[in-house]
Each structure stands twice: as structure tokens, then as C-alpha cells.
């Protein structure tokens, strides 16, 4: 009897070891699936999530906002404008070909031709192939964000995308609207291949047998990805066990998930800043810095985070989240109603005035509720707010028109760098250069402009930090905009799916490294 029990134990132990190698299927649900398999077609979270599953970048962000080598094993700066990347040997594409520096160059050129991605590569002049496994990225001016940008280079299979397909289309062509070869076919170096895809319904990924990263702890063989748009449905699917890993988690469900014994919740302070912009052109009163300061002092953003966001966010006093180079630790939220009233009186507006305000109602977490709360807070300093909220599809055209005196905008820096916030949100709007494209407040300060432009050529991180923190200080002192909070991020998974190791603040979980019990 004892012997047979031992035998059973051995068998069970054997199964426990052998089983994971064969069938580990992860049922995954995000709120949306990528619009295309062409990873250069649209710059969006969905595309980058896909990129990290099917491809590998030269280098990638880690949880501490540092860089980890991927298909580039090391890199070094040669001079002010050149950074050399050494590629790994034996990295295989899904087609079976070995990756070389030519593929990196092909990918770089394609990125520079992509409408969505070329903005990120605007400071780069060329990718120079030195030998099969060495490539130099050359910038036009000295540029500090070469590594940041290299996280966007996921080498594509040059030969797979060369020539024409059976319908006579150039395989490498990027088509924004309509059908292209690349939008439904991909060969890359990542941990998974796409084995079937029904757009908007289901994508099945299978582990790539010849994946180069044999050190990866990842043991998931198959991922069945279902986009579940509705938050409550996604959460219900997770709690009922139909889904193993779900994101994002709506704040209303955080408590229930956290207290559930079946699932684990992982949250992280986010990097998307939510702000209101105060239009100085439309509303002359807002051109007075004292009025803008009064508004910032009247808004209890810590209260918004606590009551509306259910602590699912961090109250902000600047654009840069902690960990970014420009994060200025001395800046703190400054809710003070007395001071706000005094400032209004000083500016000659003790009796207040009325403004129009617009906000989306399905873009950011609780966006419409936040706008309502802010409108209520401004009433306390006699600013009467006429608020309109609308779905994002209608909101963005309104935002482009600058259709209200106060408009909401959230921003995440594509480069994970502080300067990007200011370039888009606070620099003097300039149609030629594209700076200030989302600066609906028309805030303009030549010192800020100069500091940001200079920081783009400064390769010494310490010097850049001084410049960018100075920018945050000025924007804070002049109340260039109303900072509200950084939205947190949340993921949840069935117990035994160790997502805490693979999620990151950029929200592209590295599923290749995911371990399931």
C-alpha cells in the first residue's frame, strides 16, 4: 500500500512538472483588441501590447523605468549623435530566418515612413548597418532619448515583407484605412505567433517554438485573447473563472476584486496626467495668472482622488509623475479656498464670472464626474461653470476647435519622458513645428519653450533633469493648467497567474515571461 502511494506521489510529481510544459492556456481579456496586425499602423496601447507579444524590441522598459536588453544585448553611446546597438546572435523570426542588422534598418525606415510613429523618430537621421549584428542609430542633433526611442523598434522580418502579395500589393506598405498585406500578416521575433484572429472577437496566440529567449521563465503555451469592452462583464468573467487575466479594472470593482479569494489585484501608480486647460484667448480673465492660481487653489484634487477615484490615482501638482526626469519633488497639491478667494479679489473678480467647460464622458476614468465636481468647486469662488460632457468621438473635434473656456485633457508621454508633456500641452502653439498641438489654453512662456527645446539636445541626464524640473516649477508657479491626478493602473488575475512579475506602468504586460501555476 505504502509503495503504491509513493508511486502515486512520484507520478503526481511527474505530472506536476511535465504538465506545465504541455498545456498552459491563458484566457486573457483587455478592453479592446489591436486594430491591425501591422505594428506600425497606429500608435496606441493596443498596438504596443500586441508588439510585445508577437515581437521583441531592441530594448524594453522594466518595472523600475530602466531599460532591459532584448534583441539588442548591449548598447553604448559612440558620440554626441550616435548610439551603437549590438544585436543578439541566433534570434529567429517566426519565418525561421535569423534576424540581422538589415532587419533593424528596414524596421527603422518603415517607422520613419509611418504617419503615427514618425513623430517619435523625427530627431533621428538614419540607422547605419555596421555588420550583421551591429547597428548605429544616428540623430540629427545630440539627442537624449535614444534608448527611449529604441523601445519602439521591434525588428520586423525584412524578407517576409518584401515583394508583392498575390493581389499585387507591396507587402511592406502601411495603409491607414483599408486592407494591406501587413495588416493581416506578421513575422517577428516575439514569444508568440498569431494562429487565428477574428477581429473584435478573439485572437489566439501560440508560443513560438524557436523563441530566442530560452532564459525566459514564461510557461504559457497558448493565449486566447478576448476583447471585453464592458467593465462589469470583464470583471464578471474574471470572477466566474472564464478569464484568467483581465485589464483594465474599473475603480468601482477594485474593492470587490481585492477582497475576492479567487483573484489577485495588482495596481500601480500611473503616468497619465489628467488636467484642465484654461483658455486665455477665449476668456481674457484667464490670462491673469492670479485668476488661474485662484482656480488651482479652489480645486481640491486630493478630494477628487479620494471620493471620485476611490483612491485609484495620485493627486498631482505637475505633469511629470514620480520617476520621470522632470519630476519636481517640491511641488505639492495646493487646495486652499481662502487663498483662492483672496486671489480672485486681488484680481478684481471677487464677484466672479462665468465660463464654459467641456469634458469627455468615456475617455478617462470617471471623466464626467470629475468635471462636475470641479464645476462645483469653482462655484465656491463665484466662477459659474456651464459644463458640457460628451463621448470622446465628439469631444476631440470640439477640443481641436477650442470650443470651451476650460477643457479637459489627459496625457501620457509616448517617450516616458517629461519633455513630451510640455511639447504637446504647454509650449506655445505653433502650426509649423507642431509644438503645443494640444495646448488649448494658449499658455505661452518663452522660457518654457526654450528650456524644453534645449533639453531635447542635452544628453547629460543631470543637466536635463535641472531643465525639466525648472519647467515644471514655472508651469506650477504660473498655474499654466490645472493638474488633477495621475490615473492608477490596475490588472487582475486568477490566483496562480503571476502577473505582478510582468505588468508595468506603460501597460504592456510582458506575457512572454508570464508564469502560471
Amino acid at each position: 500500500m505504502k509503495k503504491s502511494l509513493t508511486g502515486f506521489a512520484v507520478l503526481a510529481g511527474f505530472l506536476a512538472v511535465a504538465w506545465p510544459l504541455h498545456a498552459k492556456t491563458l484566457n486573457l481579456a483587455y478592453d479592446a483588441d489591436p486594430v491591425s496586425l501591422d505594428i506600425h499602423e497606429q500608435l496606441s496601447g493596443g498596438t504596443l501590447q500586441l508588439s510585445h507579444m508577437v515581437c521583441d524590441p531592441l530594448i524594453r522598459w522594466n518595472q523600475e523605468l530602466g531599460f532591459d536588453p532584448r534583441v539588442a544585448s548591449s548598447w553604448e553611446r559612440l558620440d554626441e549623435t550616435t548610439v551603437r546597438f549590438h544585436l543578439r546572435q541566433g534570434v529567429k523570426f517566426h519565418s525561421g530566418r535569423e534576424m540581422t542588422a538589415e532587419d533593424v534598418k528596414f524596421t527603422f525606415d518603415r517607422l520613419k515612413a509611418s504617419e503615427d510613429f514618425k513623430g517619435i523618430f523625427v530627431n533621428f537621421s538614419d540607422a547605419v548597418v555596421v555588420d550583421d549584428h551591429t547597428v548605429d542609430l544616428v540623430t540629427i542633433n545630440p539627442y537624449p532619448l535614444v534608448e527611449h526611442t529604441a523601445t519602439y523598434i521591434f525588428p520586423l522580418d525584412r524578407e517576409f515583407f518584401s515583394g508583392n502579395d498575390e493581389r499585387g500589393r507591396d507587402k511592406a506598405e502601411i495603409v491607414k484605412h483599408g486592407d494591406s498585406f501587413a495588416s493581416t500578416n506578421i513575422s517577428c521575433t516575439g514569444p508568440y505567433t498569431v494562429s487565428s484572429r477574428e477581429q473584435g472577437v478573439k485572437v489566439v496566440f501560440d508560443r513560438f517554438a524557436d523563441y530566442w529567449d530560452t532564459d525566459s521563465p514564461g510557461n504559457v503555451n497558448q493565449i486566447i485573447f478576448t476583447p471585453i469592452k464592458e467593465g462589469p462583464t470583464r470583471v464578471a468573467a474574471l470572477l466566474s473563472g472564464d478569464i484568467d487575466f483581465a485589464a483594465p479594472i474599473p475603480p468601482a470593482d477594485l474593492n470587490r476584486i481585492d477582497s475576492s479569494e479567487k483573484v489577485d489585484l495588482v495596481t500601480m501608480s500611473g503616468t497619465r496626467i489628467i488636467t484642465f486647460q484654461l483658455n486665455q484667448k477665449r476668456k481674457p480673465e484667464l490670462a491673469d495668472a492670479r485668476v488661474r492660481l485662484a482656480i488651482v487653489h479652489a480645486i481640491n484634487n486630493a478630494g477628487i482622488v479620494e471620493k471620485i477615484m476611490k483612491n485609484f490615482g495620485t493627486a498631482a501638482a505637475q505633469q511629470s509623475p514620480k520617476g520621470y526626469l522632470g519630476y519636481n519633488a517640491s511641488l505639492q497639491p495646493r487646495f486652499d479656498l481662502e487663498k483662492a478667494r483672496a486671489l480672485m479679489a486681488e484680481a478684481g473678480h471677487a464677484d466672479g464670472f462665468s465660463v464654459t467647460m467641456m469634458a469627455p464622458n468615456n475617455r478617462y476614468v470617471n471623466d464626467a464626474k470629475i468635471a462636475e465636481a470641479v464645476a462645483g468647486m469653482l462655484a465656491k469662488i463665484n466662477i459659474q461653470v456651464d459644463l458640457t460632457t460628451m463621448p470622446k468621438a465628439q469631444y476631440w473635434p470640439k477640443f481641436d476647435e477650442r470650443a470651451a473656456d476650460i477643457m479637459m485633457i489627459g496625457w501620457h508621454s509616448d517617450t516616458e519622458d517629461s519633455a513630451n508633456f510640455t511639447e504637446f500641452l504647454a509650449m506655445t502653439p505653433d502650426e509649423e513645428t507642431g509644438y503645443g498641438q494640444y495646448n488649448s489654453g494658449n499658455y505661452s512662456n518663452s522660457e518654457v519653450d526654450r528650456l524644453v527645446l534645449d533639453s531635447a539636445k542635452e544628453t547629460d541626464p543631470a543637466m536635463r533633469a535641472v531643465m525639466l524640473q525648472r519647467v515644471e516649477q514655472i508651469l506650477h508657479d504660473e498655474a499654466a493648467f490645472v493638474p488633477l491626478h495621475w490615473q492608477d493602473r490596475a490588472w487582475a488575475a486568477r490566483k496562480g497567474v503571476h502577473i505582478d512579475q510582468v505588468v508595468n506602468v506603460m501597460n504592456f504586460p510582458y506575457l512572454g515571461d508570464l508564469v502560471m501555476d
Binding site: S183, P232, T233, S240, A393, Q437
Partner: protein, 328 residues
């Protein structure tokens, strides 16, 4: 009969023309499709260029005329998101929606007739009172609330049924993927079909009840009682059959309305049908798909109404749908 069908076809064309014009004229209010197609940091200049390429900057009538020209050839435009012809996308999603409607209709027929008839015959019975009370509740509770409640009860708490999706499907007639023929598919369709039925079923119960009560008061029923016919024969043959006439008319219209309710049901259950697709299309400002969906649904309405009229003619010989005069 042929003349009737041809006339209906003509009406259908007019309906679809009007729908296409209306949906075309509101598309500017839906938002800017470019926003969904490109990333947030793409310059306005680039967006303008793309808009030009896609013909979105042309005057309204030019765009509409181009659309009509293509529509005549069966091309309702190409979906921005799916990158395939809009009609093809919709037809691909149609089986899932029809499965759902069939399953919901099954529940409705299964419960509405016995409950409605019983409540008419025995209005004071406790069961009738409870059924009537529940039907009021059923009509008043929005379908998405019912759906979420069902999900939490049967999927999350009890864990009996899956919470979303369609499950396994089986190919039928070479192109029709149905989930009604697999065990897994039936498990998946259970909750969505009940949610969808929950709005229409109470209406049917009440309608059958009130129509039947009215018929029971009619002279010929009293005469039948006086003649000493058996209860069952009076109820089922004389009363119930005459109750069905108005029920068929309203039922046909309700079938169309059910298609509208699939939008909510499918969204909550992540059911990959065309209602869910439509709501997504609105979020993405996928205008070609929105326009094509509205036209297809318009067609469905016209077709169901036509079928109802034909059935009505068959059931009630007094009605002559072809409009021909009966010579005395």
C-alpha cells in the same frame, strides 16, 4: 400576391434610401473617424491629408452620391476598423444575432402562451396575480440590469453558466455558424437569450391575457357556452385562435424591436453579433459600418412586416393583403 410583393419591395427601397440619407446626414455629429484611426500625437496636417484621401472633405451631396453609386452595385462601403466591406462584416455577425433572437423567441413562445391563457381564464388565481406582477416588473427593469443580475447570480456566484461570449459553434449549410447545436453553445446562449426575452415576454403575456379576456366576453363564446361545448374546446379552439390575430401583428413588430434590444444584450454579454458590433462602430466612429447596419436593420423590419402581413392573410381569410376586390 406578386404585385403585393413587388409593391413591398418598392417600399423597402424607399425605406432604405431614407435611412441611408438620414444616417449619412448625422455622420458629422458622430465625431471624427480620424481620431480613432491615428494616434494622439499625429499632426493636424497629416490628419487633414488622410481626410482628403478618404474623401471626407467632399461636400455632403458628393459623398452621398458616391455612396449611392456604390450601393447600387452592392457595395455599402468599407469598415474603417475591420478593413473589409461593411456588408460582409454585418453578414458575418448576423448568424450570432439570429441565434440569439431564435433562442429568445423560444422562451417567449414557451412561456407567454400558457401563462397568458391561464391568466385570462383564471384572472383571480394567485398564480395569475403573481405572473401579472412579475410582468410589470419585467417590463420596467432595463435589459442590461437583468443581464448583469443574471451574470452575477448564475456565472459569478453559482458558477453554473459562462458569463460571456458564444462558446463552440457548428457550421450549418456551409456558411451558417450556429451555437444552438452544441452543448457549450447552448450553455452560452442561456443567459443572453433569457435577458433578451425578459423585455418582450412580459409584453406578450399581458397582450395574450387581455386579448383573450376580451374574446371570452364575445357573443359567440357565450353562445358556445350556451350550446354546452366542452371548456377546453371553447378556450383553445374558439377563444385562443381568435386571440392570436392581434398577437401576430404586434408580435411581428416586436420581433423587429427585439433586434434593437440585441444591441444592449449583446454588449453586456460580449455576444459577437451585429448589435454589439453596431455599438462598437459608434464608439469608433466607423461611419460606413454604422450606415450599412442601419440599412440592413431597416431591411429586416420591412421583411418581417411583410412576412407578418402574409401570415395574417393566411390566418384570417377576411383580410386580403393583395388589395384585390372580392367580387360578390
Amino acid at each position: 400576391m406578386l404585385a403585393f410583393l413587388i409593391r413591398r419591395l418598392g417600399q423597402a427601397l424607399v425605406v432604405m434610401l431614407v435611412i441611408s440619407f438620414l444616417s449619412f446626414s448625422i455622420q458629422d455629429e458622430l465625431g471624427d473617424p480620424l481620431r480613432e484611426l491615428v494616434g494622439q500625437s499625429v499632426s493636424e496636417e497629416t490628419r487633414e491629408k488622410l481626410r482628403d484621401e478618404m474623401g471626407l472633405n467632399d461636400p455632403f451631396l458628393v459623398q452621398y452620391w458616391r455612396f449611392l453609386g456604390n450601393a447600387v452595385r452592392g457595395d455599402l462601403g468599407t469598415s474603417y476598423f475591420f478593413k473589409r466591406p461593411a456588408l460582409e462584416v454585418i453578414l458575418g455577425k448576423l448568424p450570432a444575432t439570429i441565434d440569439l433572437v431564435i433562442a429568445a423567441t423560444f422562451w417567449i413562445l414557451l412561456f407567454s402562451i400558457p401563462v397568458g391563457v391561464f391568466a385570462a381564464i383564471r384572472p383571480d388565481h394567485w398564480f395569475s396575480r403573481v405572473a401579472m406582477g412579475l410582468s410589470i416588473l419585467g417590463i420596467s427593469i432595463p435589459v442590461f440590469l437583468t443581464a448583469i443580475f443574471l451574470i452575477y447570480l448564475f456565472a459569478v456566484e453559482l458558477g453554473w453558466l459562462p458569463s460571456y461570449g458564444r462558446g463552440d459553434t457548428r457550421m450549418l449549410f456551409g456558411g451558417w455558424e450556429t451555437s444552438l447545436l452544441t452543448r457549450d453553445g447552448l450553455r452560452h446562449i442561456f443567459l443572453p437569450s433569457i435577458s433578451l426575452a425578459s423585455v418582450i415576454l412580459p409584453l406578450f403575456v399581458r397582450m395574450i391575457r387581455s386579448e383573450m379576456m376580451e374574446v371570452l366576453e364575445a357573443e359567440y363564446i357565450k353562445f358556445a357556452w350556451a350550446k354546452g361545448l366542452r371548456k377546453r374546446r371553447i378556450w383553445m379552439l374558439h377563444a385562443f385562435k381568435n386571440t392570436l390575430l392581434p398577437v401576430i401583428t404586434v408580435g411581428g413588430v416586436q420581433l423587429g424591436i427585439m433586434v434593437a434590444y440585441t444591441i444592449l444584450t449583446e454588449t453586456v454579454f460580449q455576444w459577437p453579433g451585429m448589435g454589439f458590433m453596431f455599438l462598437e462602430a459608434i464608439h469608433r466612429v466607423d461611419t460606413p459600418l454604422i450606415v450599412a447596419y442601419l440599412i440592413v436593420v431597416g431591411l429586416i423590419f420591412v421583411v418581417t412586416n411583410t412576412v407578418v402581413d402574409i401570415i395574417y392573410g393566411l390566418v384570417n381569410p377576411m383580410v386580403n393583403i393583395t388589395g384585390q376586390r372580392n367580387e360578390p
